[in-house]
């Protein structure tokens, strides 16, 4: 795509220039990339397409605000994909035709490996974020997490006595944090945290942990659905199951195409979807032994 094409087709050339100026510039093997959505590197052409999609998403949102203010019913701008296209919030995983989840009664024990963190402050920060993020999921659906502080001191990157460790690893910014799914092999059960977790300014850090724990519980990305803005990264959709309507605000939705939220909060649809797999929070019950 050359510059002439751009000026003819551009919805908003100014937005492209603004993003070029605003986004972090990264040189890789002599080529210039711009870092978008915290973990995507776009070359100049990709950045242009991205800027046009963002401009389109902004136009849709602006149209929606205007119609809401005026009391009109429809907010769809002609020719533009809507951010709230109704598709079928959470996306679960299927194996052998059945939904993947942790066995009822499972206590998802974890530790935060202190020795992997370069500084105690960062270790303590992650412990606090994990405490909050696990409590948020426990208050949402029937899951149980437990921190095992004694294992935090282990030198073993796969310590015994916990389902998964949380550890710091320098991945060169390849991700902010990375997680696993319930059906991943036991040796791959770990939540990894890159130094960029502490330096990125896009996402709420506890929100990042809520998102990663969503994967640990078996939920895939929300933005891989057909209703998500096209600029959102696509993924292999094999063996997935839509658990609710598409939810652009989902904790499992990246901040892409003008939708998603930097707070990565658990929404009402996330609650519905996660309860369809794990039931209501365990605290909702008075347990009686036989």
């Amino acid at each position: 795509m050359d510059t002439t094409m751009r000026s003819v087709e551009a919805l908003d050339e100014g937005y492209f220039d603004l993003l070029k100026d605003k986004l972090k510039r990264v040189e890789v093997d002599g080529e210039t990339f711009w870092r978008a959505e915290s973990d995507y590197l776009l070359d100049e052409d990709e950045l242009f397409v991205y800027s046009q999609q963002r401009a389109a998403a902004d136009a849709v949102q602006q149209a929606r605000r205007m119609t809401e203010q005026r009391g009109f019913g429809s907010s769809t701008a002609p020719g533009l994909a809507t951010a709230d296209a109704r598709e079928r919030g959470l996306v679960g995983i299927l194996r052998g035709g059945r939904i993947v989840r942790w066995k009822p009664g499972t206590v998802l024990t974890y530790c935060v490996l202190r020795t992997t963190f370069p500084e105690d402050d960062r270790y303590e920060e992650v412990v606090a974020h994990m405490t909050q993020a696990t409590a948020d999921w426990e208050g949402t659906c029937g899951v149980d997490f437990a921190h095992v502080p004694a294992a935090d001191q282990s030198d073993d990157v796969r310590p015994g006595g916990v389902v998964f460790p949380v550890r710091h690893i320098d991945a060169g910014g390849a991700f902010i944090a990375a997680a696993f799914f319930p059906h991943d092999p036991p040796s791959r059960r770990r939540v990894l945290i890159d130094p960029s977790y502490f330096t990125q300014g896009t996402f709420d850090r506890t929100g990042v942990m809520r998102h990663e724990l969503g994967h640990v519980l078996g939920f895939r990305h929300e933005h891989i659905r057909s209703g998500a803005p096209p600029v959102c990264p696509d993924e292999d959709l094999g063996d997935t199951l839509d658990l609710t309507d598409y939810d652009p605000q989902s904790v499992m939705h990246y901040f892409c195409g003008g939708v998603g939220r930097p707070e990565l909060a658990i929404t009402a649809l996330d609650r519905t979807g996660s309860r369809s797999v794990y039931g209501p929070p365990l605290d909702d019950f008075t347990e009686v032994s036989p």
Binding site: A171, G172, A174, H211, G238
Partner: protein
């Protein structure tokens, strides 16, 4: 009903173990190699993983199956188990 992985092997590795010719074909394909070589990688505890979806680490067998799903989805009908 499975309630845990029976061993430390991914479902994709088990599926490919039963189809060694297919695995070899994909690994030898120039298109697959070009696609795979563009993926971002990280090394964790000495093993190389491909970063997929921004925050998921997949091994080589898993990206082979992803490639098959993208290019020859009919081969995957019937599941990966």
């Amino acid at each position: 009903m499975d309630d845990q992985p029976p061993d430390d092997v991914t479902a994709e590795a088990r599926w490919l173990q039963r189809r060694p010719g297919l695995r070899a074909d994909v690994l030898a394909s120039a298109e697959f190699q070009q696609w795979r070589d563009r993926l971002r990688t990280v090394v964790v505890d000495g093993a190389t993983y491909y970063v997929r979806g921004g925050d998921s680490l997949r091994d080589e067998d898993q990206v082979v199956v992803e490639w098959i799903r993208r290019t020859r989805p009919a081969l995957l009908q019937g599941g990966e188990e």
